[in-house]
């Protein structure tokens, strides 16, 4: 079943990082400084480049969807109204959407649906989050209270703990090893090092990752994504407008979404995410594509174990073989499989919750049109896949994108 034609016609992406503080970087002699900012300026940083890229003005944007996962992080209620006002899309419908860490892709899916329905022709999906000004304990609290408040949270199950329950189970059932988990982080940091917009541009070794401080064993520091500030925007348009305004539209040719049980213990296994399997199946079916057609993929690597499960759930390797596939360099550009998270992923590029799913699509656009930094550019990439997960599979969106 083909889906209505809607394209990405403009992209914008802020620097991810500790944007509450001035960032100064010197990577291989290339010096850069980024100013300290709030959600207001971060929204500007991603939105204005996006409309400029689309070659339009605010007059052309008919409505907006704002992705912010937890308003408590910004201390601002009704934050969609604030962001829409800040960037100047005033007097036009706006709304905030929230599906935890999948908020960004849900903002795109919501805008897609409003265009596909025929209600609007051109829309903006803006995702933003400022997370670093709160303490790590409070940030962990804000993410952990999304566990079942009666049966999970009071037992001290933090957000990383959910994924560590998967990791320990997968080690026992599938023979997943510590080195295989670390190999994912090594890859993420390798590519993130070359991404100018990434939060933590530092190469790490298997030994660094194996010996890092424990967070929720079996998961250690380098198994866990970053807590970041950042924003990303895409401009979406229907077929008629997209063809008029853009010489390089990136079409959403496949779209899948799913969910899963609230409690981790109500699932049939803890070695994969059923929500990802179902969303991927729907996305492949709607696009007529399969895993072997994908040239570049962005998977939700909130934890190393999540990326390994995604390899299997999206069909890049056999079930139970995700760890082995990593060791065989399956997810590398010069490897035998599908290049995955060549932007650094949530691990190195960062994870500003509401922006993350949009940031994946922004980088997919760069890869498909060949404008990424050369060390991390996939040659001749045409078909891209983006996979964004909220919680541990309670919300999943998968997009297939093609020029």
């Amino acid at each position: 079943m083909a889906i209505p034609k809607v394209a990405i016609v403009g992209i914008g992406h802020s620097k991810y990082g500790k944007r509450g503080k001035i960032i100064e970087e010197d990577i291989e002699g290339e010096k850069a400084a980024y100013p300290a900012v709030t959600i207001r300026e971060l929204a500007h940083e991603s939105y204005f480049p996006a409309i400029e890229h689309a070659g339009i003005t605010n007059d052309d944007v008919e409505a907006s969807v704002i992705g912010i996962a937890a308003e408590a992080f910004a201390g601002q209620g009704a934050a969609a109204a604030l962001i829409a006002d800040e960037v100047g899309i005033i007097g036009k419908p706006t709304m905030r959407v929230e599906t935890a860490c999948a908020t960004g892709s849900t903002a795109i899916r919501t805008a897609w649906a409003q265009i596909a329905s025929g209600q609007f022709d051109v829309m903006a999906a803006i995702g933003v989050e400022t997370m670093t000004w709160v303490s790590t304990a409070y940030a962990t609290e804000l993410m952990s209270v999304a566990g079942d408040h009666r049966w999970e949270y009071p037992y001290g199950i933090s957000f990383p703990t959910f994924y560590s329950l998967y990791a320990a189970r997968k080690m026992a059932v599938d023979g997943l090893t510590r080195d295989q988990l670390s190999a994912v982080s090594v890859k993420s940091h390798y590519y993130g090092y070359y991404n100018k917009l990434a939060h933590l541009r530092r190469k790490v070794s298997i030994e660094d990752a194996n010996g890092a401080v424990p967070i929720a064993l079996p998961l250690r520091l380098y198994d866990c994504c970053l807590i970041s500030d950042g924003a990303a925007t895409v401009i979406l348009a229907n077929e008629e407008k997209a063809k008029k305004m853009s010489s390089d539209p990136l079409w959403i040719t496949g779209l899948g979404c799913s969910s899963d049980t609230m409690r981790v213990t109500d699932r049939p296994n803890l070695t994969n995410l059923g929500g990802s399997v179902r969303a991927a199946e729907m996305a492949y079916k709607s696009s007529g594509r399969s895993a072997k057609d994908i040239n570049v993929a962005y998977v939700h690597d909130c934890f190393s174990i999540a990326e390994i499960m995604a390899y299997e759930d999206l069909g890049f390797c056999e079930r139970g073989q995700g760890g082995k596939w990593t060791e065989e360099r399956g997810p590398y550009i010069d490897g035998p499989g599908v290049p995955v998270n060549v932007d650094g992923g949530l691990k190195s590029k960062g994870h500003p919750l509401g922006a993350t799913g949009i940031g994946q699509v922004v980088d997919a656009y760069k890869q498909v049109f060949g404008t990424a930094e050369k060390q991390r550019q996939v040659p001749d990439a045409e078909v891209a896949l983006c996979h964004n997960v909220g919680q541990h599979g309670q919300f999943v969106n998968v997009f297939i994108l093609e020029p």
């Binding site: 303490s135 009666r150 949270y153 009071p154 037992y155 703990t161 929720a216 213990t265 803890l270």
Partner: protein, 145 residues
């Protein structure tokens, strides 16, 4: 802080933020704990069993019966938490362990895992026991059998 105080929070708690309303069904589970019983439910329409107990079934069934679960099982998976969320960090020292116990009928339940003398092992024999926290709340914990 000595023994971690981790578990179900009920009306007795002064921690308003994390208070759970005591629905009639939840009270039945808690009253079961008072008698040392772990109560689960089974759908009379499709036969599916639920722990924690559910009061409606995804099949559409609204008639569920209670049954008592054998508290002995095996360790399905585990975690040792070194960084606790702020609300939990106020109540307990780190690290603490979390386990998932697998009862008969493939029923799973998460809980605080106590009494470890070495690294937990998936498949090890464990059992679950009721526990009264210092707050007066009734909870349960998992320990090696």
């Amino acid at each position: 802080m000595s023994e971690p105080q981790l578990g179900l929070v009920q009306e007795l708690s002064t921690d308003v933020k994390h208070r759970q309303r005591m629905t009639a069904e939840f009270r039945k589970f808690i009253n079961g704990l008072k008698e040392g019983k772990f109560l689960a439910t089974e759908c009379k329409s499709c036969g599916k069993k639920f722990m924690p107990p559910r009061f409606t079934c995804p099949c559409g069934g609204k008639d569920l019966k209670w049954f008592e679960v054998n508290p002995e099982g095996t360790l399905y998976t585990w975690s040792i938490v070194h960084f606790a969320p702020e609300g939990i960090a106020k109540k307990t020292n780190v690290p603490y362990a979390v386990g998932v116990i697998e009862f008969e009928d493939n029923l799973l339940l998460t809980g605080h895992l106590k009494g470890l003398t070495s690294k937990p092992k998936v498949g090890m024999k464990v059992k679950i026991e009721p526990q009264e926290l210092d707050s007066g709340d009734l909870a349960y914990f998992i320990k090696p059998a």
